[in-house]
């Protein structure tokens, strides 16, 4: 498996692209992903063994029982002995797969109970981060409900920040998965198997890892035009870093005097119908929360790097970048666009 990844990496590096992110299911970074990976390797091994035996018999039969030209010409019409069947043999090869199935069911059951096990804590217990994840066409909303027993109350988009366990203290994260429109599926291969976000249904998924870093994933259930651009970035931070991030996110939006005009422009346009910027009159809850927009590295369902140039392109005409997305091109003047982007750039 690592050879496969290495080969892919090599071709991409040769092309001079950005570094490759590992999203393989065989590079687990959490206990749960790890137990799935080891079960997977076991099942692959069993399948591989069956493959070798059966293809071996097939290949042997083809080679061994294909009459040579001499045989064909010497006795063109002889039929081989006709064997109609044999009950002992049939029973033998009914029992053999049954034993394998029995074995597979046992190991599956064990892993199933390991992987789906909720930690003993409740959602607002000490050390637990409780988040509601809402799948939307075509981005993810993360509503932070509580952490370590403290109520939170902010939402962010596209990038999920969670703490890593450290020093023997686990930091379980409880994700409550919902959908605002159609079916989606939350999937970060290195952290956890996928779990669907289905409208009218609430699912729960626990994440827990001890390894800080950036983990990528994306929506895994077809959800419409831009399904391909409904990406997931999970930033796992040390508890200290995470506290710092939380503190910043909990504050209302910065009121930068340099961007007063841009702020006024944005608040007077229809942006406020969908977007929320805490501390202002923008209180929409239909589109990504922009309160701390600039604390993210990406936007637009994590498809674009967050910089002024991309923001400017996006504000001008989102449809030319993410065709079909729910934000229309508002036809603002260049001046207004500049002002809005200047204001957005202050939202750290």
């Amino acid at each position: 498996m690592s050879g496969v990844i290495a080969l892919g990496r090599w071709t991409l590096l040769a092309a001079g692209d950005s570094p490759v992110h590992d999203v393989s299911i065989f590079s687990p970074a959490s206990n749960s992903a790890e137990s799935i990976a080891s079960l997977s390797i076991l099942v692959l091994a069993v399948a591989g063994l069956i493959f070798l035996v059966v293809e071996g018999v097939l290949f042997y039969s083809i080679v061994r029982f294909r009459p040579s030209r001499v045989e064909r010409e010497s006795a063109p019409d002889t039929e081989p002995p006709q064997v109609y069947g044999s009950h002992p043999i049939e029973i033998a090869w009914t029992v053999a797969p049954s034993v394998i199935v029995f074995f597979l069911v046992l190991v599956t059951a064990r892993t199933l109970w390991e992987v789906n096990a909720a930690p003993p804590q409740t959602a607002n217990a000490a050390g637990v981060l409780d988040i509601t994840v809402v799948g939307r066409q075509w981005w993810w909303e993360y509503q932070y409900n509580s952490y370590d027993g403290r109520p939170l109350g902010f939402a962010t988009a596209s990038e999920l920040h969670i703490p890593a366990g450290s020093g023997g203290v686990a930091r379980p994260v409880r994700l409550t998965l919902k959908s605002a429109d159609v079916c989606h599926s939350f999937w970060v291969p290195r952290l956890e198997g996928k779990m669907d976000a289905i409208p009218g249904r609430v699912n729960t998924l626990w994440l827990q890892t001890d390894r800080p870093g950036l983990y990528l994933g994306q929506c895994a259930e077809y959800c419409g035009t831009q399904h391909a651009h409904m990406l997931i970035r999970v930033v796992v931070q040390t508890p200290e870093e995470f506290e710092g991030w939380l503190e910043n996110q909990s504050r209302p939006a910065v009121d930068d005097p340099q961007a007063v005009e841009g702020r006024r422009t944005l608040l007077s346009e229809s942006c406020v119908n969908c977007h929320r910027i805490r501390g202002t009159t923008a209180a929409g809850n239909y589109a990504p929360d922009l309160t701390h927009l600039m604390s993210r590295q990406t936007f637009a369902g994590a498809m674009l790097d967050l910089d002024r140039r991309n923001l400017r392109r996006w504000v001008r005409n989102p449809q030319s970048i993410k065709q079909g997305c729910l934000m229309p091109a508002f036809g603002l003047t260049d001046e207004k666009q500049d002002l809005i982007v200047r204001f957005l750039a202050t939202l750290r």
Binding site: A47, I50, F51, V54, Q82, Y84, G85, L112
Partner: protein, 557 residues
């Protein structure tokens, strides 16, 4: 039955029609459109399927081109989503089912010594509704674009909110219509196989293909109506303002998933059981041995047909069912592998100790055996729920089911077509072209779908119109695309071979393969009444008994 034949009017000679003042083409058209002969209907089913195979194949090639590099904008998201929706719908409903139903239509009456299907006119109705269903689905393009919700059309993507154009309505109507055709075929096969066997052909002596068709028909009858009901609910939601899948008013998106997969999983077996039957006819003849363990094979077929009705939610491990329910579906799904294994071992045992010759039907059958095994094994991986939490909805799944549907169904169908083409046309297919077709398909197929398993395990979800350049998926997609373009000419060779051999092929004679079932006892092509005299049967291999009167099969069965 002969009465119905005459009423159908296909016995009129073209010469007679020209005498009535009609050009030959018109009378031929008239003959084919008004026929109720199971053989002509079978040929039309297969021709329809091959036509849609080419259409669906072109859709696949466009998708492969779009995915050849990351962030490609060759076709764009809307077109791509329409392409995979139509590709899936086409291949399942208008290629897979018609080609199998068509071949069975042609062969089952001949194999069981009947003069036609039980209900010839219903048979014609079934074909035409299937065809018009396909046309109706394609008519959705006329609304400005085909539906873009995937072939399993997860609610609420089918609701008016998310699919405003009438494309979805055409799609649903088309599938309801062709569903009527499938039910008609199922009813007809059951009535024919149970009620019209030649004297002496008891249920334990019917050809294995007829046995698999019987169980396929049972699955058609049980699995298609829930889909029809579901599609009607979709139409009611869209046209009458009903609320089945309208989540805002208490409807359920989750309910559609259960409905769809209750149909969808048996559908997979509808597409593979007849193929099991075909290779069970081909392998014995080209190994020169009787099918090993007929009774166990028959029981295994029955077991697969019945168990597969209870495994549907293994497509839904990620919807958040309880662990107990997950485990039930793991057990049920893995159980299917036992009868499938029995079948596999019996085919191997049939070949073992035989005198194998590699004419094209056997070539494709061995291709089937070697590839279907892999599809079955990846199926076991997907049945293991925790593994599926990772693999579900990735390219691994795409690789898996193409492995089953091409490596299994299509290789088996090609084996069958190469085997029975001489019976249908009186001409042999070119073995040289068949050899090229086989190897291009085999290698192209490996190259297309092998890498998909890898990209899936590397985290690539299915149904994405493009992907990020930093995910290490590029090389695998490029190999897949290359494979697709290696496969493409093999289909062209096949179509050319089928058409050209009509006039160029070597004359076949009645029994070119020295085979053992009843269809080889009549002329090639068979007369409209199939048999001058209805044969009497004493064993599963009536022609073996005839060819070896000193050592007939009925002594051993």
């Amino acid at each position: 039955m002969a009465v119905a034949d005459e009423r159908g009017g296909f016995q009129r000679e073209p010469a007679g029609a020209s005498a009535a003042g009609r050009p030959a083409i018109v009378s031929a058209l008239h003959e084919w459109t008004t026929t109720v002969d199971h053989k002509k209907l079978g040929i039309m089913y297969v021709a329809m399927a091959i036509f849609f195979l080419v259409v669906g194949g072109c859709e696949a090639l466009l998708m492969r081109l779009q995915l050849v590099v990351p962030n490609n904008d060759l076709v764009g998201p809307d077109t791509f989503n329409q392409l995979f929706t139509m590709h899936g719908t086409t291949m399942v409903f208008f290629v897979g089912m018609p080609i199998l139903i068509g071949m069975a239509n042609y062969l089952v009456p001949l194999m069981i010594g009947a003069r036609d299907m039980a209900f010839p006119r219903l048979n014609a109705l079934g074909f035409w509704t299937t065809l018009f269903g396909g046309l109706l689905v394609y008519f959705s393009f006329a609304t400005g674009g085909a539906p873009a919700m995937g072939w399993f059309a997860y609610a609420p993507l089918t609701e008016t909110t998310f699919a405003r154009s009438a494309a979805t309505d055409f799609w649903a109507l088309g599938l309801v219509t062709s569903g009527v055709g499938s039910i008609a075929a199922g009813v007809n096969f059951i009535a024919t196989i149970l009620g019209m066997r030649a004297p002496g052909m008891t249920m334990t002596k019917i050809p294995f293909f007829a046995w698999t068709m019987l169980w396929t028909s049972v699955q058609l009858l049980v699995a298609i109506p829930p889909l029809t009901a579901g599609l009607i609910m979709v139409l009611f939601d869209r046209q009458l303002g009903a609320h089945f899948f309208d989540v805002q008013n208490g409807g359920s998106a989750y309910f559609w998933q259960h409905l769809f997969w209750f149909f969808g999983h048996p559908e997979v077996y509808i597409l593979i059981l007849p193929v099991f039957g075909m290779v069970s006819e081909v392998i014995p003849v080209f190994s020169r041995k009787v099918l090993f363990g007929y009774e166990f094979m028959a029981a295994a077929t029955m077991a697969i047909a019945l168990i597969s009705l209870g495994v549907w939610a293994h497509h839904m491990y990620c919807v958040g069912m309880s662990r107990t329910l997950d485990l039930y579906f793991v057990v049920a799904s893995l159980l299917v592998s036992i009868p499938t294994g029995i079948k596999f071992f019996n085919w191997l045992a049939t070949m073992f100790g035989g005198r194998i010759s590699f004419a094209s039907p056997m070539l494709f059958s061995v291709g089937f055996l070697s590839m279907f095994l892999i599809g079955g094994l990846t199926g076991i991986m997907l049945a293991v729920a925790p593994f599926d939490f990772q693999l579900s909805d990735t390219y691994f799944v795409v690789g898996h089911f193409h492995w089953v549907l091409i490596g299994g169904t299509l290789f088996g169908v090609f084996a069958g077509i190469h085997y029975w083409y001489p019976k249908v046309t009186g001409r042999m297919l070119s073995e040289r072209l068949a050899w090229w077709q086989f190897w291009l398909l085999y290698l192209g197929f490996l190259l297309t779908f092998g890498p998909m398993h890898l990209s899936g395990m590397l985290g690539m979800p299915r149904r994405i119109f493009t992907y990020q350049p930093d995910r290490a998926w590029e090389i695998w997609n490029q190999l897949s695309t290359l494979g697709a373009f290696i496969q493409a000419p093999s289909y062209a060779i096949f179509v050319y071979n089928v058409v050209a051999s009509l006039s160029n092929g070597k004359p076949a004679g009645d029994d070119p393969w020295d085979a053992w079932t009843l269809e080889w006892s009549t002329t090639s092509p068979p007369p409209s009444y199939n048999f001058e005299v209805i044969p009497t049967v004493h064993s599963r291999r009536p022609l073996w008994d005839l060819k070896h009167p000193d050592d007939p099969d009925w002594q051993y069965e």
